[in-house]
């Protein structure tokens, strides 16, 4: 009745107000636990090459929504998922889909970094090797390019074979970003990626996101209003598992049309 989606709708091509088509389309998404309706009829189009911020108070379902996108909800027995999430022609929630291939289209950056138990080099090379790349010089080149892209190369080039866990937490988060970028994702799913970082490391990550949106679509979960203001091209405000309002940040924050967003903005400031 749930995850094994009842029927597979054809993806509709939707234009977004940003002059780009949507890269990810969510239709009628519902997530339940035994006694709780976590996400309620979510319909959302994620614009390509923009930063979409999922904003809302803790416990409103932002992270669950993010985990639905790359089907990590599969790891949680208590979650029952229904609906459709389309990326390209694939329905992420459809059980017949090639989930590892779909997940490679969406890099994940968690609240705190989880470097794999291997060297810095191997961390970045891990995903490429999974794709079957064996050419050593190509792997080395990809590792360097992605470490440069996240501004980590100069800091680690002399200790590429040290454990990933030996880096500072801010560096680890950038390593995880480089690791995700190495598999050439379409979308970066960032779940409060700066919540465990110091202000300087947070700023580096935010600056990276601004640059990366030229090539990637970023979906950022945050409950920090100021971060949303700084980064968002599109804001989706959620509360109690529902999308309350969405739109361009300045329009949304200047003229909130719902009481809930007004209250959140007042409390957030």
């Amino acid at each position: 009745m749930f995850t094994d989606v009842e029927m597979c709708e054809k993806p509709d091509v939707v234009s977004t107000p940003y002059g780009s088509t949507s890269i990810l389309r969510i239709r009628n998404l519902n997530v339940f636990t035994e006694d709780h309706h976590i996400l309620k009829d979510i319909n959302l189009d994620i614009p390509k090459n923009k930063i979409t911020v999922l904003l809302g108070p803790s416990g409103c379902g932002k992270t669950t929504l993010l985990k639905c996108m790359n089907k990590l909800t599969d790891l949680y027995q208590e979650l029952k998922v229904s609906g459709n999430i389309f990326i390209d022609e694939d329905d992420v929630l459809h059980s017949n889909s090639n989930i590892p291939a779909i997940r490679q289209k969406m890099g994940l950056l968690s609240q705190r970094p989880y470097p794999l138990p291997m060297s810095i080099f191997k961390n970045v090379a891990y995903g490429i090797k999974l794709q079957g790349v064996k050419n050593k010089s190509l792997i080395a080149e990809t590792v360097e390019r992605n470490l440069r892209e996240v501004g980590l190369w100069e800091e680690v080039k002399d200790r590429l074979h040290s454990p990933g866990a030996s880096l500072s937490i801010g560096q680890q988060q950038r390593l995880c970003l480089a690791r995700g970028l190495a598999v050439k994702p379409w979308i970066i799913l960032a779940d409060e990626p700066t919540s465990a970082l110091d202000p300087i490391s947070s700023k580096i990550i935010e600056d990276l996101f601004r640059n990366l949106k030229q090539k990637y679509t970023i979906i950022l979960v945050t409950h920090i209003l100021r971060q949303a203001v700084r980064l968002a091209d599109h804001v989706v405000f959620m509360n109690f598992g529902e999308i309350i309002e969405q739109g361009k940040p300045m329009e949304l924050f200047k003229n909130p049309s719902t009481k809930q967003l007004k209250e959140y903005l007042v409390d957030g400031n």
Binding site: Q77, Y114, L130
Partner: protein, 284 residues
């Protein structure tokens, strides 16, 4: 800190330290007794010679047959336990991550298997042996000890895998890994120090157990060269020598016990060093 809290703090500190140090004292006491009682019999011949004629009446020879038999049986059983235990523990923690009830059921059965006395494994191994038409042999001993130590191996490794944050599993899967790639390339490496501990515990239990090999491995003064030959083990060798009325033979029992203790200590220290090395560097 008020007076009552101060007394409470001191009392529990004293109680905890007595409990901790008494364990060390007990271990030291056991080792000292074994070495003191077996000191005179602890000769080089004991470890390089098999029993000669009249060994159990105070004649010449050593317990090389039992040392090698024990190492063969514990080593062989550990290899089987690793072969079964490692994938099983990874399966429980990766493939069954969303099936809590099944995970708990498997863990319950493994804990029950861990708790079964080794003589029961011995009896089961003996029945199995008869059913398959096997004689008491090295192979039968290895299989029986493997049955005994595999649950220990799985649960010990499983306990370590349980402590790995779910975020690491998610990170690996999010990169496009399959469950198998995540299990063997990420979770296994992350839990490697626990894996070493699991092998150590399983091997230690295997090499020190007498009841499971009593019916299955048999006993011989010869060094086994084939899997279908009977094999002596150190625990049984100690048992037979200790049952002797001759003081020299009983002294040799303590010397054999000292050898068994030394083997376990060496393996334990090596495993700890390896475990420390890998957890420190977090695998490069």
């Amino acid at each position: 800190m008020n007076r009552r809290k101060l007394i409470e703090e001191r009392f529990f500190k004293l109680l905890s330290s007595i409990a901790s140090y008494s364990l060390i004292a007990i271990l030291a006491f056991i080792i000292v007794i074994i070495f003191v009682k077996g000191f005179h019999a602890l000769t080089f011949d004991m470890v390089i010679k098999a029993p000669k004629g009249g060994f159990y009446y105070g004649g010449e020879g050593g317990v090389l047959n039992a040392i090698l038999g024990s190492l063969y049986i514990a080593g062989g059983a550990s290899i089987i336990a690793i072969g079964i235990g490692m994938p099983a523990a990874l399966y429980i923690n990766v493939n069954l991550v969303r099936h809590h009830a099944l995970q708990n059921t498997i863990r319950y059965f493994l804990d029950a298997l861990w708790g079964i006395p080794s003589i029961v494994y011995g009896a089961f191994g003996f029945t199995l042996m008869l059913y398959l038409g096997m004689n008491a042999s090295l192979l039968a001993g290895i299989i029986t000890v493997a049955l005994l130590i595999t649950p220990i191996m799985i649960r010990t490794f499983d306990e370590v895998l349980c402590t790995i944050p779910k975020g690491l599993l998610e990170s690996s899967l999010a990169l496009g890994s399959t469950n198998t790639e995540t299990a063997f390339r990420v979770m296994f490496k992350q839990g490697f120090s626990g894996f070493i501990t699991a092998i150590l515990l399983a091997f230690g239990r295997g090499i020190g157990d007498a009841a499971s090999v009593l019916f299955t491995a048999g006993y011989t003064d010869l060094i086994p060269v084939n899997l279908d030959e009977p094999a002596a083990t150190l625990p049984l060798s100690i048992f037979f020598q200790l049952s002797s009325p001759i003081p020299e033979v009983r002294e040799r029992a303590f010397a054999s016990a000292a050898i068994l203790t030394l083997i376990i200590l060496v393996i334990s220290l090596t495993a700890r060093a390896l475990s420390k090395k890998y957890s420190k560097s977090n695998l490069q």
